[in-house]
Symmetry: C2
Subunit: 194 residues, 2 copies
């Protein structure tokens, strides 16, 4: 089954997705979240870091308890998350990040980031956690890891509605797209924060 | 509205709960989760730590999109969480904990802890995060903060189905129940991990 999350991202259940040919969306499709999820699963398996994606927040209104079967939620609504999607621990350091991608070719729209996400990352920064963004240009499959604090500074200084790719490249670490893990972002975290 | 989560905990919507007289469950009721939530909100407000409770994981099966109103989830099920309920950052350190309470008076049943939660805390420990438990005896309102690794050792050595309160007291930090915040557990974290 497929539906859209409030952020516009299309949800496809795993079963359905895996039955689609892998070229369905093309190699340049929007698939950052899947790649991140695979990468953090790899990191956990290899005991390199313990990072999890947070569950989608849902406001539960009604639950049925059918006889002899498990509780069924019959009415619920998506809630706005108050944090980022990912956090965890890596060699003693608290990591917290948001992963976003765009189909635009030359710049990354600021509107992809919610104010409360950037505020949360600023709060993390203040507690000496490692707060960063993973930015992907889907068309060219270019991936950048940027300190959240640097992103916020660039956003505040900018008079545009988006951040140019060149500026991103100059202020972040480029991460090649790979196979296992699909996005190996921990070396970039090392360079940015250690 | 009220329903039971898979862990047996009774859910009461905020609105209903706050309209109940505060003595409804008595002072010795099961209210650890509310107290922790208030405490971490206090820590965030005072910029002492950034800790959030993770959303309840839900498997979404069907969503309706009524015209001119927001998406409504019409079929969903509770999923088993793969981590603990709480994590965050405190002065650069990654914190991860589970909070449990019991109505038993002299010992804390091991069955209150799922294997995957203890495994997750062990993984966090290995990444040099601060993994701990907040244990509350509801009847006496006694609260203890214990390193997860110590709890696991005691559990492995034990031939009982529960951990005696005296053993807990000897291997943890007692935290007095207070008002603002209701459970001030950060000083115990300082003593255990710094």
């Amino acid at each position: 089954m497929r539906f859209r999350y409030p952020n516009g991202k299309l949800y496809t259940s795993k079963k359905k997705a895996s039955s689609l040919p892998s070229t369905h969306n093309g190699n340049r499709g929007m698939r950052l979240e899947d790649d991140i999820n695979e990468s953090i699963a790899y990191y956990r398996r290899e005991k390199l870091a313990v990072i999890h994606k947070k569950p989608t927040p849902v406001q539960i209104v009604n639950v049925d308890y059918p006889a002899r079967s498990r509780a069924k939620i019959t009415e619920a609504y998506f809630r706005q998350a108050s944090t980022t999607d990912y956090n965890g621990v890596y060699r003693g350091c608290y990591l917290d990040f948001e992963a976003k991608e765009t189909r635009q070719k030359q710049s990354f729209p600021f509107k992809n980031f919610h104010e409360h996400q950037l505020q949360h990352l600023a709060d993390v920064d203040e507690q000496q956690g490692c707060a960063f963004l993973i930015l992907r240009f889907a068309e060219s499959d270019e991936i950048f890891v940027m300190k959240a604090s640097v992103f916020v500074q660039l956003k505040e200084r900018s008079e545009r509605k988006s951040l140019q790719k060149q500026v991103i490249a100059e202020n972040s670490i480029a991460v090649p797209s790979g196979f296992i893990p699909p996005i190996d972002f921990l070396p970039a975290v090392d360079r940015l924060f250690y």
